[in-house]
Symmetry: C2
C-alpha cells in the first residue's frame, strides 16, 4: 500500500467519518476537511482523525497523496472545479458517490495532468447520517465497486482494490460507470423508492401496532436524507425510472396471478424468488 | 391465568414450535399434535413439549382446556370439520393464522356449543420454517392482534390478551377480522409481494456482488414458503389486490416526480416517509 500512509477525507459525514475511523484503525495518518468545525472537532475528540481543517487550504491539501471525497455529488463536482489546482502532482483521488456516469467523467475532465481520479462506491451505510453515527463496522464483508474509465491506469484500479480489501470489504468488483448506475438504480435506488412509497401510501397512528419485522425491514431506509437522495435520484433519472418500471411490471404480474387465483403462477414466482435470494446472504 | 396450565399445540412448525418453547419456559405443561412423528420427536428431545401425538385421538385432545392451532388456514378448517366433537366442553381454542375473515367465522360456526374459538395473529416469524427453527425470542416485544367476533365473550378476549402479555408480546390490539385483513394485506402480504417481485424482476449471477444491506433487508422475506403464502394470499385476495394498487399508485407518483425532475415533490415524500417511519421502531 501507499508508503506514507497519509489520507485526506473531504466531507466528514457518516461515510467520510466511517472511512476515517477504519483508516485510523489501520494505522494511516488521517486528515479531514469539513466546512463544519464541529464535525472536525468531534472527529478529533474521538481520535478518528489526526488533524483537520474547516477551511479549504492549498498548503493543507498539497501534503496528501491520497484523497477520499465523501461529499454530495454536485458539491463534489463544484469542489473540484474550484480547487483542482490545489492537489499535489501524483495524487490519487477517489470517492464514495452513489452515482457514477454523471460524476466520474466530469471530475476526470476537470483535473490537471498528473492527478488521477478513480471512482468508487462502497455498498455500505445506515439510515442515520452525520459523523457522530460513523462506524467502521459497516464495511466488514460489504461489497465494493470500482468504476474506472479509459483515463485510469491499471495500477490505480489495483491500488483502489487493495485499499478496499485492507479496509475489510468483501467482494470487490470493477465495472463501468454506466453498468454501475443501472445496477445501483435497481439494487439501491429502487429499494429506497419502495420504502418511501410504503411509508407514504397508507398512514394511521395505529399502523405500527400491527407490524411485524418484515415490514420494519422493508421500510428501515424510509428514514432518509431527502437532500442527498433527491440529488442521487435525479442524477440517475433514466436508469432509475427504467428499474421502477421493470419492478412495477413484475409486481403487476404477481397481482394478476392473485386476482385470477392462479396458485401455480404465484408459487412459481415464490420458488424463483426463494432460489434467487439465497445468493444475497452476506458472508462476513 | 388458566389454573391447570395445560396447553395443546396443533401443528409443530416454526410458530407452533416457538409457542411450545415459550409456554414450556413459562411453566405450562405443553402437549402437541403433528402428523409428522419426527417433529414430535424433535420437540420431545429438545424438551419444548411434555408429550405429543402424531395421530389425532379424542382421549388425548379431550384433556386440554386451551388449544392453539398453528396450521395452514385450509388445513385448520378441515381439522375442525373433522374433529370438532373431540374437544372438552369449556375448552378455549385460538390460532396464529395470518388471515382472519375467511377463517374465524367458519371455525366458530363448526364448533359445538360450549367450545369457544378466539382468533389471534402473533406478528412474529422468520424467513425459515419448521420446528427445528423455532425460537421463543421472536415474540419478545412483537405485536399481537386479537380478532374477536360477536360470538366471543369479553372474558375470553381478556384471557387471550393476558396470555399474549405473559408470552412476552409488546403491543396487544383487538380489532375485527375485516380490519385485520386489510391492515395485514398492507403490512405483511404486500411486503412479501414486493420482496418476491424484487427477486424475480432482474437476475444475474453477479447481482449479489453489488448489493448493500438495504436490498438485503428488503428481500429477506423473498425466501418464502410458497405453499403457505399462496394460500394466505388467495384467502385475502380482495384486500391484498387493493393494497398492491394503492402502493403502485404511490410509487408511480414518486416515479413521476423523478421523471419530471420535481425535486421538491420527491423531498416532500421523503420527509413524510422519514416522519412516518419513526413510529415503527421496535421497543423490546
Amino acid at each position: 500500500m501507499n508508503t506514507n500512509k497519509k489520507v485526506l477525507i473531504v466531507g466528514l459525514g457518516l461515510i467520510g467519518g466511517s472511512y476515517a475511523t477504519r483508516l485510523t484503525e489501520l494505522g494511516y495518518e488521517v486528515g479531514a476537511i469539513d466546512l463544519n468545525p464541529q464535525s472536525i472537532e468531534y472527529a478529533l475528540n474521538k481520535g478518528i482523525i489526526a488533524h483537520g481543517n474547516s477551511q479549504v487550504e492549498k498548503d493543507y491539501i498539497a501534503q496528501f497523496d491520497l484523497i477520499v471525497f465523501a461529499l454530495y455529488p454536485k458539491t463534489f463536482i463544484k469542489w473540484i472545479e474550484q480547487y483542482s489546482r490545489y492537489f499535489k502532482k501524483g495524487a490519487i483521488l477517489t470517492d464514495v458517490t452513489g452515482v457514477k456516469s454523471t460524476v466520474v467523467y466530469k471530475v476526470q475532465e476537470l483535473l490537471p495532468k498528473g492527478v488521477e481520479f478513480i471512482g468508487a462506491h462502497p455498498m455500505a451505510g445506515t439510515e442515520n447520517s452525520g459523523v457522530s453515527n460513523s462506524t467502521s463496522k459497516i464495511f466488514n464483508g460489504a461489497n465494493f465497486i470500482i468504476t474506472p474509465t479509459e483515463r485510469n491506469q491499471k495500477e490505480t484500479v489495483e491500488f483502489c482494490s487493495q485499499l478496499a480489501k485492507e479496509m475489510g470489504f468483501g467482494k470487490i468488483s470493477v465495472i463501468s460507470p454506466k453498468v454501475h448506475d443501472e445496477i445501483i438504480g435497481f439494487l439501491s435506488q429502487l429499494a429506497h423508492c419502495i420504502a418511501i412509497s410504503l411509508m407514504c401510501c397508507k398512514q394511521s397512528e395505529e399502523l405500527s401496532y400491527y407490524s411485524g419485522d418484515s415490514f420494519r425491514d422493508l421500510t428501515r431506509i424510509a428514514k432518509i436524507n431527502d437532500k442527498m437522495w433527491s440529488e442521487l435520484f435525479l442524477l440517475n433519472k433514466t436508469a432509475l425510472v427504467e428499474q421502477i418500471d421493470k419492478f412495477t411490471k413484475t409486481l403487476n404480474q404477481l397481482r394478476e396471478y392473485i386476482e385470477l387465483g392462479d396458485e401455480e403462477g404465484m408459487r412459481e414466482m415464490m420458488r424463483t424468488s426463494t432460489q434467487n435470494r439465497i445468493k444475497f446472504d452476506k458472508k462476513d
